[in-house]
Symmetry: C2
Subunit: 352 residues, 2 copies
Amino acid sequence: MKPSSDARPGTANSGKRTTIYDIAHSVGTSPSAVSAVLNGTWRKRRISQKLADRISAVAIEQGYSVNLQASVLRRDRSNIIGMVIPKYDNRYFGAIAEQFEEGARQRGYFPVITCTQRDPELEFEAARMLLSYQVECLVVTGATDPDRISDLCHSAGVKVINLDLPGTKAPSVISDNFQGALDLTRLLLRDWGNEDGRSESLYFVGGRTNDHNTSERIRGFLQAHAEKGLNVPQTNILACGYAAQKAHTSLAALERLPEGIFVNSTISLEGVVMWLSELPPERQQRIQYCCFDWDPFAALMPNCVGMAQQDVPALLDHVFNLIKTDLDSTEIKQIACNLRGQRPSQHAGVAS
Amino acid sequence: MKPSSDARPGTANSGKRTTIYDIAHSVGTSPSAVSAVLNGTWRKRRISQKLADRISAVAIEQGYSVNLQASVLRRDRSNIIGMVIPKYDNRYFGAIAEQFEEGARQRGYFPVITCTQRDPELEFEAARMLLSYQVECLVVTGATDPDRISDLCHSAGVKVINLDLPGTKAPSVISDNFQGALDLTRLLLRDWGNEDGRSESLYFVGGRTNDHNTSERIRGFLQAHAEKGLNVPQTNILACGYAAQKAHTSLAALERLPEGIFVNSTISLEGVVMWLSELPPERQQRIQYCCFDWDPFAALMPNCVGMAQQDVPALLDHVFNLIKTDLDSTEIKQIACNLRGQRPSQHAGVAS
DNA sequence: CTGAAAGCGCTTACAG
DNA sequence: CTGAAAGCGCTTACAG
């Protein structure tokens, strides 16, 4: 027998949280009945409406909330789905986190997101932690070593999906980086080529060449040049990492000013814009850029020719479909980006 | 007795996760010993080094990870701390979420954040959900009705702290909105007044007058005008809500163009910048603005006179101190903002 | 229409 | 040096 709680009805019971035993005791019924009423299965247990009402009333009165640790432990399913994400504080990952939570809740899951600061060790530890929380499925976003996490999940029998960066041991949903970069570079080359007959190529700034997304974007960048018969010298590819400062430093080290820049992310773009703002105004305005990523303010900067916005709703739609599906593939699904010009004709895309 | 697991060592055991019983069985010892070894209390239980090593090896081999639902259920403390936050996808809340997670992990907590889209019902439900997860403490960020959530937490015996927006039933940590707005308005009035002898006042755009932060900022805005002997007509306060579109519409409806605008958040600023970009260039450049919030790109826009950056590290420092402290006050702690001019002299503040 | 009982996986006194 | 046992709060067959 459980010790009877010393809670006074309608009052916080000193320290201890109300349990179904407390409620059963107050109402004068069994914990089983309370449990059935509280999670809606009481009809099929043919509990009387009257008893159900009494129980519900007391539960509210005592501020009862179920202990999910206990509930999840007992049930076979946890309903928890996890996400590992590198950052929150830019528009792209912020939108992913936000829409992942929303979509998860809509589908009856409890989402738990962990931010891992692009640290491979932290990514792995976070995944392990989420497994300890009995997630039913783990979405791994932008991970440095997704396959290691996939192995971990498989050995725990937990479904895993790669988002943004592909892996080889789980299905992946990523943006079409090649096509997006191709379109974006075409845009920049067109504007840039029209001014006069220069045959110099553009610069590519940011990211790392061994990162899948960066290398795909470089491929698109080169392809757009090839289409115009332009050859890009190796020295025009400044894959200097992701830090804003690195982009700034790399550009500042150039002997001649570039005329056009393909920026690999808004993080790098911060460095580029910083560098631009330090140039004399007459030089500033000659330098156009585009950016593979979306930021509403960056899009309205005077030198911005266009941005490639990753289609977060479509990416997540696919992720949720994969979660539902039981089939275990290692397919890579590519989602097209939205190309956005400097001045959107209407207010489309301004978040409200 | 537990049924012996049919896991083959080194292999995923079909579906079922490895438990301490499985490990005990493999090693030929008791679950208690396994538990003690796995959570580091084995020394004081005087378990032999040899047994401890065997257990650790098998745990790794079988890919064991503790079931935290079970562990938390049994222990008195959950180590989980929760946060309710309105948005991820802007710099301010993104930084709060990210640094909250980092700080929590550093201090040995497991952080769980829920994003509630500024929906009061969702805020309350999210808080209830986090209580069900046995959070030890709940940080409520920018909530519409923080006191309702405070009541809920108190009745569950869970500590609660308000961040960004103050409440009356729990300690609050907020930015010094009055002083920040005063400084920011002074900056705008100074630049703006120098051009010629206009005595017209500035416009205030965004937010809601019944929201504490907005009303404090309006107070600072008015005070800065009063210092200059300027009177602000009611019609210059466009507290039109938080949506970007609203700011856009309100400005578009004005009969005369404003000369200077105090923008209440980066969300509203998106609408303002949108509206600006649609004006003819010669009119655009006459309109200066400042913004209470920080965004690296917005700060570099040509018309931006200054931004007030909320001091996220300092805000969170205070929050974590309050979590440690047991004393239960309803004190409101105000944290100064950093005022940032249009062109930072160095690269300070560019996130890396 | 309803309750007693088992058990989810763990931790922690307690008893050797 | 180590194990048996109780119990965290719940859910769910099972037996009336």
